[in-house]
Subunit: 347 residues, 2 copies
């Protein structure tokens, strides 16, 4: 119910997902039953593996994540996530308030052992396949250890879900040399260098689209800025082409003819195709989508949830945290405090 066009797009997307997969899984729609059933009727959803669980409240985009979770115990988010926690659903997907979904995932599902901060990555297209940039906005203030954990989780995700054999991990920085960047990034470099990951060193802003690494690690501030910048490129191009063609019939014709090619070339800069991003580091499967998710985006979010649920992502993350962290920890000074205590988790 939290998306900008809920529940219309959510219902339409769920129906599409089940039709396309011939009911290969079941979708539980959580929210105001009356509204949902109305939309189901519009969609002629008879015969699909759908069920509805009523939830009276909705957490809005402007609600404070933690406050809303406490106050709205009957929100679709709280009830849906609890269904997943109780094993009545194998995954959870939402186009609602990102902060609230992340909080709910962390509080209700709990963190994977060894993870101090769950994270959300973002997918970028690149000249050599999909690139996962992690963190994409969840943790704006990071310590070296956090960046290291993002690298571990991102690497496992790229391996399990994108099937990259030995994903290259790059640390986002302002230059290639190890002395570049803030102290935090320089410390993270050391942790990564001493790990079992396929760490290729620092990468720069230009290396994301170039596909130099399959996993690019950064704090959530940088990740969020570059993600939103990237998402704005297609709109900017469209506006530029329009402006250029304006009042010139020949140019307009050319651009109209080439529109399909351009659109196709930019297809994977389009969030709809990816269908949301997973929360990494929580004990469960949580997929978060854009607030303005279309039915197609919702459909792909559901597919993504199924894909992650049938993988062994969290088991692999837990294993990797145990082996890589202990390995990397040897590199740091013995007096350094452990960052894995619960109180350290700060959104």
């Amino acid at each position: 119910m939290g998306g900008d066009f809920a529940p219309a797009n959510e219902v339409a997307g769920a129906v599409q997902a089940l039709r396309e997969s011939s009911n290969a899984f079941e979708v539980v729609l959580v929210g105001r039953e009356h509204e949902i059933r109305e939309h189901l009727q519009h969609q002629r959803a008879d015969g699909l593996a759908l069920s509805v669980v009523h939830a009276e409240e909705v957490i809005g985009m402007d609600d404070s994540p933690t406050a809303a979770l406490k106050q709205k115990k009957n929100s679709s988010l709280a009830i849906g996530m609890t269904l997943h926690k109780e094993g009545k659903a194998d995954g959870f997907a939402s186009a609602g308030n990102t902060g609230a979904v992340l909080s709910a995932a962390t509080l209700i599902l709990g963190r994977v052992k060894g993870v101090s901060r769950p994270t959300i990555g973002a997918f970028f297209p690149s000249e050599s396949g999909v690139c996962l940039v992690v963190d994409a906005g969840t943790n704006v203030d990071c310590r070296p250890q956090h960046l290291f954990e993002f690298a571990v989780m991102g690497s496992i995700y790229a391996k399990q879900i994108f099937k990259y054999e030995n994903p290259k991990v790059g640390l986002l920085n302002v230059g290639e040399e190890r002395v570049k960047g803030t102290e935090i990034v320089q410390e993270a470099y050391k942790l990564l260098e001493g790990s079992t990951l396929n760490f290729i060193g620092n990468v720069e802003g230009r290396d994301i689209l170039k596909g130099k690494a399959q996993v690019v690690v950064c704090d959530g501030f940088v990740g969020n800025v570059v993600l939103k910048f990237g998402e704005s490129v297609p709109t900017f191009l469209k506006s530029r082409l329009k402006q250029y063609a304006s009042g010139n019939i020949f140019r307009s014709l050319l651009i109209a003819l080439a529109r399909g090619s351009l659109k196709n070339s930019l297809k994977d800069m389009d969030y709809e195709e990816f269908g949301g991003v997973p929360v990494l580091g929580v004990n469960g499967v949580t997929i978060i989508g854009h607030g303005k998710s279309t039915p197609k985006a919702i459909k792909n979010m559901i597919f993504k949830a199924v894909e992650v649920a049938t993988s062994k992502l969290n088991t692999r993350i837990e294993e990797a945290m145990a082996t890589s962290v202990s390995h990397a920890m040897k590199q740091t000074s013995p007096g350094e405090p452990s960052l894995t205590s619960a109180s350290d988790y700060k959104r």
Copy 2:
């Protein structure tokens, strides 16, 4: 001499600049005289307002900025910047080692009164004109006061050089709400809010190309990442279009036909057009260009230097630092240490 194609492109660009402006100014070429004169001969530069000052040494791209400045007293950079300091030139432009040029400008020219850290901005195209993002890589670690100073300098630059009447200043953040982002950014928000600048609040990554603000303020880490990401977009698009057209004659034809339109639309994402970026906050005129600057880029750098030299940029910056800083300082706690001591300047 510091550029990747020096002195060939530097000489060619200087010749172009003087031809196009009909010798409206004089260009002093600083570097290995023999080499420069050879290139001048190729360019048939007779009758142009050109002179050459010999400098034996060259600071390379891999040299450590401060060490190189100390060791290579006879570098083209040190000699050229000193000519400017002594008033024998009204501005300085280089396509060499950015860190070294910035250090030389700061050490030789000195800082404008009230500025604790000189900065370099970058120009982005946007749907509503040029957008100056400042800092673009100079200061990776910033305190709130530094971000505030970038805003003041950027605002004056946008006013004096881009002729924006009352430039809108945005603070780059992960969301619009004032509570978003790191503590540093939140503190900077308060300083900006209490200033005389036309502060429009937080802006996000997507707002740069959208042109929501004419000046976007951020630390040099974020600025550098988003700048390099942006610069990589045209290459990525080209590669995508090529891939899409590959083996399909109809598509290839369409894309070939539309190439001109695309290229023209992306023209101002092209660094050559901007001709380098100014160092803000130093007592003088210093323009820094890409290492791989073409003759056209060099030409535009020279034009930019002339433009800045004939403006009252630094006087205005000094005035603004005096009025805006004192105004903003009232907002901060009285015990806060002043950040304008020389020792505070950390590259």
